[in-house]
Amino acid sequence: MLLKPELGLFFWTTVIFLTFFFLLAKFAWRPILNALQKREENIANALKAAEDAKAEAQRLKQENEQLLQQARKERERILKEAQEAKKQILQQAKEEAQKEAQQIRQQALQEIEAQKNAAIAQLHNEAAQLALAIAEKLIQQRLQDDKEQQALAQRLLAQLKQNPN
């Protein structure tokens, strides 16, 4: 009895099962499976986006690092250049100062020489005038003594010859 299939129940099982299969497939399984698949794709996409963002961040970081390195190098270079420029300027200034000093000294020397010469010339003049005055006085004094007068004239002449100034 238990093992004897009933055609009626067999028929109704088929009808009921297939009816609910079609209803469930349309109103339950398709939406659920689609949603699951969409969610899976979303998760995969999100993961991929995160991965990409991470890579992008890594790349940016590297780029920054590179830029920083470059900036550092640039700074060093600029500093070095400035140092060199400073040195050069100093050198130049020194040289110029030296030149100037030299020139000034030269000028001073020339001035001194000129002054000296002028002084000497003046001295000569004054000496000559003095000598003339002395000579005059002497001449006035010693004109009584002719011999001596003669000798003195001689001597002065010799002296003048030796040193015309």
């Binding site: 238990l2 009626g8 109704w12 099982t13 009921i16 099962f17 109103f27 939406p31 979303n42």
Partner: protein, 348 residues
């Protein structure tokens, strides 16, 4: 005193209604079969009134009968007991068998098929409606919150749906898995829910009917043949790689194989569920056998056997809950395996 006895007896897990007080002795086998065989009324319970009288609470289902003389007929049998109903059926020209099914009269030669929506069919519709409500609710939740994690019943069923998808459909059906997934999901959940419903009081063990399991197996059979590849039919009718003579021997073997697969499917589910119910009914029935078995009422004996009976019933019941899921899994899995095997393209 009488009412206390009935109260105690009705505390058992499976509701066993019986009206055997007027009979001599206690025919447990008859009662067992009554519980395992589909009926035309949904008998819920009896309220005893004493003196062998009772109020029977039951839903009486209509009869739909095809006979070669009248065509389809739709009627109720109004009788209060089996004898009255049998008389009514006789008047209409049918025989009512002891389980309430309409048959042809023994000496008539007309074809009579009982197409009634029985208790089983009604409960299958119940299972179907439950599934429809449950899974459309879940589907709506998915559509409303497509990217949020599952909540409530959704989170309970999502792993099961994914299990059927990833462990049953995809390994055996490959890239065609999505096409068969709705069928496999319906099949798995239908059998599982039907099995579980059969374990609850007042309800019939739907999957314990060979007619039900056979119908499901036939659907698997049709799906398998429908999707059979050229190689599948080639294997059946001209087995490759064996001598000519063996090819001829293989033809009936292979054809037999085509039919034994769904046959085993139907019998496996039916036998497992029926066996479980027999165990539960048998263990609960021990109380009634002790009580009425010898024709005299043995109340002390019934009480004495109760703890043992209930303990064993609980154990078997727990196993049955697992079996309910396992059998649904096996049926869906083997359906996927058979279809997958038939679709496979061989490369020789």
């Amino acid at each position: 005193m009488e009412s206390i006895k009935y109260l105690l007896l009705s505390l058992s897990f499976v509701s066993i209604g019986f009206s055997a007080t007027e009979k001599k002795g206690f025919d447990f086998g008859h009662l067992l079969f009554h519980h395992l065989i589909d009926t035309h009324d949904w008998h819920i319970t009896d309220i005893p009134l004493g003196n062998g009288k009772k109020i029977s609470i039951a839903i009486h289902l209509p009869y739909i009968v095809y006979d070669s003389e009248h065509g389809l007929r739709f009627f109720f049998l109004h009788g209060h007991n089996h004898e009255e109903k049998a008389k009514e059926a006789q008047k209409m020209g049918y025989h009512l068998d002891e389980y309430g099914h309409i048959r042809a009269l023994p000496n008539s030669n007309k074809t009579v098929i009982d197409f009634s929506l029985t208790k089983s069919s009604l409960q299958m519709i119940l299972v179907g409606l439950l599934m429809l409500w449950l899974f459309t609710t879940i589907a709506r939740r998915y559509e409303r919150n497509p990217n949020s994690p599952p909540k409530g019943i959704q989170s309970f069923f999502e792993p099961i749906i994914l299990f059927i998808k990833e462990e049953i459909a995809e390994p055996y059906l490959g890239n065609k898995a999505n096409a068969f997934l709705p069928y496999l999901l319906t099949l798995g959940f239908f059998i599982w829910f039907a099995n579980l419903l059969g374990l609850t009081p007042f309800n019939f063990n739907i999957t314990g009917s060979i007619s039900v399991t056979a119908a499901l197996a036939v659907l698997t059979f049709i799906l398998t043949q429908w999707n059979g590849s050229k190689d599948y039919w080639h294997h059946i009718f001209w087995f490759p790689g064996v001598p000519l003579l063996v090819k001829f021997i293989m033809i009936p073997v292979e054809i037999l194989g085509v039919f034994t697969k769904p046959f085993a499917l139907a019998v496996r589910l039916f036998a497992n569920i029926t066996a479980g119910h027999c165990m539960v009914l048998g263990l609960v029935g021990l109380i009634f056998v002790m009580y009425l078995g010898k024709g005299t009422e043995n109340f002390a004996g019934a009480v004495a056997i109760m703890p043992l009976s209930i303990l064993f019933t609980l154990v078997i019941y727990s196993i049955e809950i697992i079996v309910a899921a396992v059998q649904a899994y096996i049926f869906a899995l083997l359906t996927a395996v058979f279809i997958g095997m038939a679709m496979e393209e061989h490369h020789h």
